[in-house]
Structure formats: C-alpha cells, structure tokens
Symmetry: C2
C-alpha cells in the first residue's frame, strides 16, 4: 500500500486540517538578510483573523561539489548565529529570478574556485515552514575541479578541505556537521552517490 | 585515513579561519517566537568591529514516535511561513532549562496523545548557524502508543497519520516531506532503525 493510500484511508486522517488564507502584512523589520512581517491570516471556516510572524528571505542554495575522486569539497567558516566555526558544504543566496542551479554554480566558484560538470538539482526544502517562506535548493555538481582563485565576499574567510563522501556521511551522522541544511543535502546525496557508484560498477 | 587527518594534513586547510568575538548586542525586534539582535563582533586579528544579525530563539525538538509496528506518527498542519499544509513529525519548543528529551515527550503527548518507552536523543542540529543561535534536538520515542486525547495550543489543528518508517524515508527523499528539520531526523533515524531491526533479527 502506498503512502497516499495510507494517509487517506486512515480514520485519523479522514479530514485535512484547515488552510488559512494570507491577508495583508505589515513589515516589522527590514534587514539586508531577511525581512520580518506580521501577516494577517483568515481561518477558512471560523470567522476569525489572526496575525502570525513570517520571515521572508531569498531562496538559498546548498552545493555538493563531488570531485572525480569521489570527494566532497567542504568549507569551514565562522558563523555569527551559532558563534562558532562550522564545517559545511558551499552555498549561498540565490539572486531574485536566478535559476537555482545557476546560482549554485556561481556560489561554488566564488567560495571555492571549483567548477564541475552540469549541476543537478536533487530537491529543495523549507528551512523552517513554521516561520520562513523561502526554500533551500540542494544541488550536486559532479566532476568538480579547481579552476580559479576564490572570490570571497567581505568577511568571508574560509578554509577549504576535501573528504571522501562516505566519510562526510559519517561526519554528518556523528555530530561533526551540525548545519541542518548541509545534513539535508547529505540525506539526498547518499542515494544519488550509491546509484552513481552502481552505474560505474565501482560497488 | 580519518577525517581529522584529512582536514589538517590538507595544504588547503593548513590554517583555520578566524573566530570573531561577540561584543554587545542591541535588540532590533522582540516577538513571542524569536528575537532579532544586531550583535557587534570583533575580528580576532584585524582591528575591526562589525555588526551581524542574530536571531535568538529557544531550542526546538523534533520527535520520531516509532510504534511497536515500526510506523511513525506523522502530523499534517498548516504552516504560516510556507503558507501551505506540511507533513511533519511532532515537535515544538523546549522550555527554558527543560531537558530536551522531557520537552520532546511533552510535545509528543500534547500534539498526538502518544507516549512511549524512554526517549533517546539521536543528536542535535543548528537550524541555521549563519543567523540563528539555537539548536534543534532530534529525539526518538520507541514503542509509541496512543494513551490520551490531544491537548492542542490555540490555532493548532492537526491531522494525524501513521506510515511505515521505510515509506516515510522514501517520502523524505522524494519531496513529499519538505521541512528541513524533519529530514534531519530521518537522516539520523535511518541507521538507528536498521540497527534496531538487526538486533531484533527482523532483517
């Protein structure tokens, strides 16, 4: 039985929860990274309106640069939210109207100086659908190789490193990588990598 | 060669990036869900201070309630950030000073009416270390079973459903679950579940 059948045949889920309708918003805070709005939502059946917080930001991209040797290019940088160094995959902000795969390739080149074969979108996630409207796109760049010097933004001081994909998966599962969106990438990369290895006959 | 060796033997990563030092903060926005602060950070070697945005919020918990039949208890609810219905695991906010496992069990009971055997912390993530200071704890509750009626917060209208863990893993990898923190839970739950199945001799 597929999951659709399970969802809708289960007596507990005989009715879907209500979908509220977004009305007008008022801006509470505007920054260069995100805006915070108080948005009024109307309940579809109850005669009720209520304000909820929404953080609006551009979409983000996380990039998995896979070298011909089956390694990932990782970056380590200081993160001002967590206030500590963080081991991550490259990534950044997708510009307005920009194709996520194009943005991912651009960010990869700026941050690491690496470029690869055609980028492949593995999926996207809501970083936090409760309070954020944006998405993070998860993009793999196969055959990534260093082609030029990095082009860092101000205050972007990174150290690069390479590690085999299987090692990085283990690091993700043992707390050495803690960035939620990087772990999302690893979750989707694992079957992609196994499939690729099967196709190449290396496992 | 272990990953530590790779990191520090690689010429690209011969030096770690700088760790800035947080100085005073000023509050830009206070809400019932999170606060936004502009925090001044000082660079450790450059004679330079600069303000960065930090979203401070309580820690969160994501709960994987595993039934004796090997199913997960899922909740579907409207999410005001993404402005759509979202299929998720239970979870919520850890109260100040509360043990994450205790908070997870409390949230599970309130949201679903389920309780289980002793909760097990699989790990934690930074939801977004670039701009958020808090953590999300990933907690599994084995042998989860319905014991009482739900106790929803105002505006919390959920539909519950059950699905086998393997189905939920497939849903997570095919875009039917898009909440980043739920996918983090699945990433850590997969090896836990395989290990448990091996111990029970069911695979």
């Amino acid at each position: 039985m597929g999951w659709e059948a399970i969802l809708y045949s289960d007596p507990m889920s005989s009715s879907l929860p209500p979908e509220w309708i977004r009305q007008q918003s008022r801006e509470l805070l505007h920054t260069r990274v995100f805006d915070v709005r108080a948005s009024e939502f109307r309940h579809p059946s109850r005669a009720e309106g209520k304000e909820f917080l929404v953080i609006d930001a551009p979409d983000w991209a996380v990039v998995a640069p896979v070298t011909p040797e089956g390694e990932l290019v990782l970056v380590r940088q200081y993160r001002f939210g967590a206030q500590q160094l963080s081991l991550e995959l490259p990534g950044g902000v997708i510009e307005h109207g920009e194709d996520p795969a194009v943005g991912a390739v651009r960010e990869l080149l700026e941050e690491t100086g690496y470029r690869g074969a055609e980028a492949e979108v593995l999926g996207w996630v809501h970083p936090n659908p409760a309070i954020q409207s944006n998405r993070a796109h998860l993009i793999v760049v196969p055959d990534a190789q260093p082609v030029e010097a990095t082009d860092w933004d101000a205050d972007e001081e990174l150290s690069l490193t390479l590690a085999p994909i299987d090692e990085v998966l283990a690091m993700g599962r043992s707390g050495k990588i803690t960035h939620a969106l990087m772990l999302n990438m690893l979750f989707l990369l694992e079957p992609w990598w196994k499939q690729r290895a099967r196709e190449r006959g290396t496992i």
